[in-house]
Symmetry: C2
Subunit: 454 residues, 2 copies
């Protein structure tokens, strides 16, 4: 596929994905990593990203700690411990920033659509239109036990629930029309009751009458982000998402995923521009390729074998503690269908004949996401190639170490992207939606009336 010339007119979008001391599993052990995980660190991260004109900060989330191998897990801050919960944290960050989008991950598996719709509407209001919801489902059995589920919810059920959850939340955000509030002291009318709508949702998973007890969010609706790469995940995204945070390794995979998902939009009455595809990119960069490589090796050298084995246990579902680290992988148990992460990692080990240590080092950084190590120019080349060839509309930056990984990207890669006209020098708008180039959706009840009146 050759680059389409008009693509040059677009700018790519950038998310700044925060993850404790950095996305590399051993980042926290590096002397330059922030390790306190304090509010100050998060605020500094958001302000740095805003000064560089990133579209959004992006917070992952977990609603439980992995405890498979308790002693190993306790050596890994990526095991689900989070000092802050994303919605409260981003509400705090909102006041320290003014333009950058604030994206919180929240699972549909173990929360309630009414409460969640309220909280995102509230974040959107207090940030003046900068909220985004990264809609995920949760599969970890460890987490299900925190919510009364003895067994994890099967994949299909999770997606069914997620579909219905999203419908309820989107519907609730339209409860009030934008101009419903009159606050007319003289007439005594606080809002116009004709501009308030019940949802009356009766589904398999939820019964929600509504209306939501909050004005329509400033963005109409907070931007909805999804990560699913499975068949139901892609379909859900095509129907409801406005950004996809995905993981593709090669250009071929990326362009084929891009074409696949964008091709599904038409049947939902949406145009390709209504959905931005922003894969994760784990980027180690420095002044020169050699320096970047050195940085990466330094982090790799800090990976503890216990943590490496725990990573493999999480990715493969087997405990390899008994085996020599520098020996080959033992034969793995049959992998059940659908467990694509396991299959991927096992495949990699066999194809490249990796030792146990080599294998866990392969996933210690990007965890299956695209991994790039190089000078600013080299990184810019690769991002540009993927962007121009319609493999991505932008990227969600996974800094190997924080705060240094973010500032390295800003210092070495961004100037190069800007020189090529690929990234903004100033925000285009005030809301996340405006900066991402997404239109503000009309309230469904207003839309219905317009159609009826035609």
């Amino acid at each position: 596929m050759s680059p389409v010339p008009t693509r040059r007119l677009d700018r790519l979008k950038l998310g700044a994905f925060h993850y404790v001391s950095g996305h590399h599993v051993a980042a926290w052990r590096h002397p330059l990593a922030s390790v306190d995980d304090s509010l100050r660190d998060y605020v500094a991260f958001a302000r740095t990203a805003e000064a560089a004109k990133f579209d959004a900060v992006f917070l992952a989330d977990s609603v439980g700690i992995r405890l498979n191998l308790p002693a190993s897990v306790s050596r890994n801050p990526h095991s689900g411990v989070t000092p802050f919960e994303p919605l409260t944290l981003l509400s705090a960050i909102a006041g320290h920033t003014s333009r950058i989008g604030l994206v919180a991950t929240a699972s549909t598996s173990f929360s309630d659509p009414y409460n969640l719709a309220r909280q995102f509407a509230s974040l959107d209001r207090l940030s003046a239109g900068r909220a985004g919801w990264n809609l995920v489902t949760t599969q970890e059995p460890e987490v299900a036990l925190n919510f009364g589920h003895a067994a994890p919810v099967p994949h299909a059920k999770r997606y069914e629930r997620a579909e219905e959850f999203a419908d309820v939340v989107l519907g609730l955000w339209d409860s009030f029309e934008d101009d419903a509030f009159l606050r007319d002291r003289v007439s005594g009318k606080y809002y116009d009751p004709r501009k308030l709508h019940q949802l009356n949702h009766h589904g398999e998973h939820f019964q929600v009458r509504g209306p939501l007890n909050a004005p329509r969010p400033p963005q109409g609706r907070p931007v909805v982000i999804q990560a699913g790469s499975s068949e139901p995940g892609k379909e859900l995204a095509a129907r409801t998402a406005e950004v996809i945070f995905t993981a593709q390794q090669t250009l071929e995979e990326a362009t084929s995923f891009y074409a696949d998902v964008k091709g599904r939009l038409a049947k939902y009455g949406r145009s390709p521009d209504d959905l931005k595809i922003m894969p994760g990119a784990f980027i180690v960069t420095a002044r020169t390729e050699a320096e970047a490589q050195e940085k990466f090796e330094e982090l790799q050298g800090l990976v503890q074998p216990e943590v490496g084995l725990e990573l493999l246990r999480t990715h493969l579902g087997v405990d390899l503690s008994g085996h020599p680290l520098d020996g080959p992988l033992p034969p793995l148990p049959e992998i059940a269908g659908g467990k694509s992460r396991q299959a991927l990692v096992a495949d990699l080990a066999q194809r490249e004949n990796l030792s146990i240590r080599e294998l866990y080092l392969r996933i210690a950084g990007a965890r299956g996401h695209w991994q790039l190590v190089g000078s600013g120019e080299q990184i810019a080349d690769q991002l540009e190639e993927r962007f121009l060839n319609y493999g991505a509309d932008g990227f969600n930056l996974m800094s190997p170490i924080l705060p240094g990984g973010l500032t390295d990207f800003i210092d070495f890669v961004l100037p190069e992207l800007r020189r090529r006209g690929l990234f903004r020098t100033e925000y285009e708008g005030r809301t996340l939606r405006e900066n991402l180039g997404l239109s503000r959706p009309e309230n469904r009840h207003v839309a219905r009336r317009s159609v009826a009146a035609e």
Copy 2:
């Protein structure tokens, strides 16, 4: 009961209870009321209260809009519409304040203990130990319909669930011991796994394994506030609450409630000081009594009959729209046991032979809370009397109109209270717990070990 002399050594506690344009139902129609309900208004409220050394700001909450009489309800901002959700809003306010406590109302009826424990732990951390949880149950049938309940949950069931909910949340906050996090880069130990504890709660309403994926909150646990005045409510408070937000009209009621609840503490191994009783006080004040009375009448004059009737419908459960406003109340249907709010209002009407209009004006301000109108000195006299006679440890100030009602209290009543040595001139501590004079609870797992080692 005569004042006990040592009481003079205590200082009373003050909460600043925010409610849209003010607690008077017609406040929003007054030209001096803030009516936009913007983040700026909330922040200004919190900063004003902090400058005056209030212990906490206090936010009510609702998870639904009353829709009994849609047109009337739309004339009343107290009908459940909230532009912000309390946990996200207080997270935003945290950064604009540094000492004042941040109390969010959250219902145990329609939320999940794991998610709620995380969010309060997060608020406590990002405010450096200033979070409080006003634990309520929700009875409104209108609200239940937003969460898949066709019928409201019966009172006893709600309290059973609340008891268990509180146990789970308190248990989850103790998941990590205070010194569990080592973050030792050299040894690679992020936390000490021996200082992480599963909850393994198996109850009737909840199955929660835990642990919570967050460090122990700075306060050990956010301060738990309760409002229940019913028998199970008082019992739950005696066992788990640290502040009671209650409604008592007369000194006799107040002292008897105070003695009753404080007397229940011993059986749970708690001392009377472990629980602060802070009734609501709706206070209209000014330079003189006459001016205060005038302010109050001005607000009363703004009450719309539709809104008055809707208030009566909410309090009595009957629609009186057909009857002349200045005529007597028609005979009311038999009132079922336990509906004490209805009985109270019906009783008041009959005892004082009130017209419909007179009755709704009676509840338009304080909604059943203590209502005081007078000069600063008069108000101070009444608060002092109730405080010195052990009818209250402090008060939750319900300003009739905002922001003016709060500043009136600060200008006219606070100097008088301070002159009498009844209120602080500077914060005693940094956390809400410290300012309220509540000790920081030891982690239960540490406590158990200490006992075992003795």
